[in-house]
Symmetry: D2
Subunit: 133 residues, 4 copies
């Protein structure tokens, strides 16, 4: 996407039994939960826990989500989620790669729009610059 390296973040999790289905794989909707957990960890890592952003009046509701399922995740797998961000105007876009060892499980992205406390769309998201710089 760019010639400069894009900042990346890592998050690890164990798949709980709760997230498997009778095909013995992770049920497809749960990857969106893993995306959210990775996002939360990423924001915490740059000193901007989402709970604090909300208290300061910035929320980031999702307006789009996409997943491509490449290989099944399994019970008790230790999955790694690598996240990368880009910001344009009021929009935050995060891409995710979920993998187990060298095997890519899921690739996806979410798009979020910054809202102020009164529910208005923000013009820009300067406080999130740490995610990309």
């Amino acid at each position: 996407m760019a010639t400069a390296p894009v900042k990346s973040f890592q998050y690890a999790l164990h798949v709980p039994y709760a997230h498997t289905d009778q095909m013995r794989v992770v049920y497809y909707a749960n990857y969106l939960v893993y995306f959210e957990m990775a996002r939360a960890a990423m924001l915490r890592e740059v000193g901007l826990p989402y709970a604090e952003l909300e208290q300061k009046g910035l929320s980031l509701p999702v307006i789009e989500a996409h997943c491509v399922y490449k290989a099944p995740g399994r019970y008790d797998d230790e999955l790694k989620v690598v996240s990368r961000c880009s910001i344009e105007g009021p929009r935050l876009r995060v891409t995710y790669e979920v993998s187990r060892g060298a095997t890519v499980i899921v690739r996806g992205y979410t798009v979020h729009v910054g809202l102020s406390a009164d529910g208005k769309i923000r013009r820009a998201l300067p406080e999130l610059r740490r995610l990309v710089e």
Copy 2:
């Protein structure tokens, strides 16, 4: 519990794939969701949708939950939940029986306490009498 017949309510649902686990049965936590769906339907049936109760300042947070798992629920099962209530002071107790045909799947109960909008425990729950009379 009493010599008078206790009012009962019925709710039916299809088990989604999302709720199965790799043992090919309904994951145990999901029965608490079925209890909630049955409770919501019961309140709607007596003209007291929970969303309206909340708007009028009555919330009913759960303070206790119990499940006994008698037989496995399966994908696409049509499950029936029969609910019965009792009220004592600020407490609502709901018992549930989840079954598939003649087979009892889960028995359980939840206990709720009535809170007013300011978070104080209510003395009584007269507006819920329709659940028991």
Copy 3:
């Protein structure tokens, strides 16, 4: 997409408390569960319950999912999901529109690939023709 009318299917559901989040809206991953419930109802409607398809050796794992969030879904909303299918070779594509009354809440799609019991990708999905004809 085509000049011929595309067959459509409807499914209705009430949003449980379980599916809301602290923004007071339906948590974004749950729409993928609603998509699945709508798919299951659609297959049941044409006489091909997914449980039976699996028993006959056809599974339809998802290989891609997409959601665009247009407006928030709320607790106890009665949501309607309209589904439409297209089939090409071993792939089933289902588009979904989730709405509350006249308000579109979410638009999305899922792509599935037909696998036989031995895990091989099928060449075609003739038994699913009823979904489109």
Copy 4:
């Protein structure tokens, strides 16, 4: 329960947004998921990952679950789950205390029965002794 100290295990987790509801607290069913995550970590810690137990033909389906909700869990809370086991014949009983700092959030237990690969109830669970000794 006994004069000898009972072995205890600790597990920590961050509450995801997915697990909150519109009351701004952790939805009640999710504590059963936290119990499961704590159980899995406990088994891993004593060298008996549940995935391996299943492969060796021992499954531990839950036959009873109980939760007492003492205080609300919140988004992004770091919750600690302390687990303790007792074993009697084919039954494993695990008690859990979920807390945030010094505040107890939930107390509960689950009861499991040991099944062999053919679905028969086991007489005893000697391989699980490490959980209690």
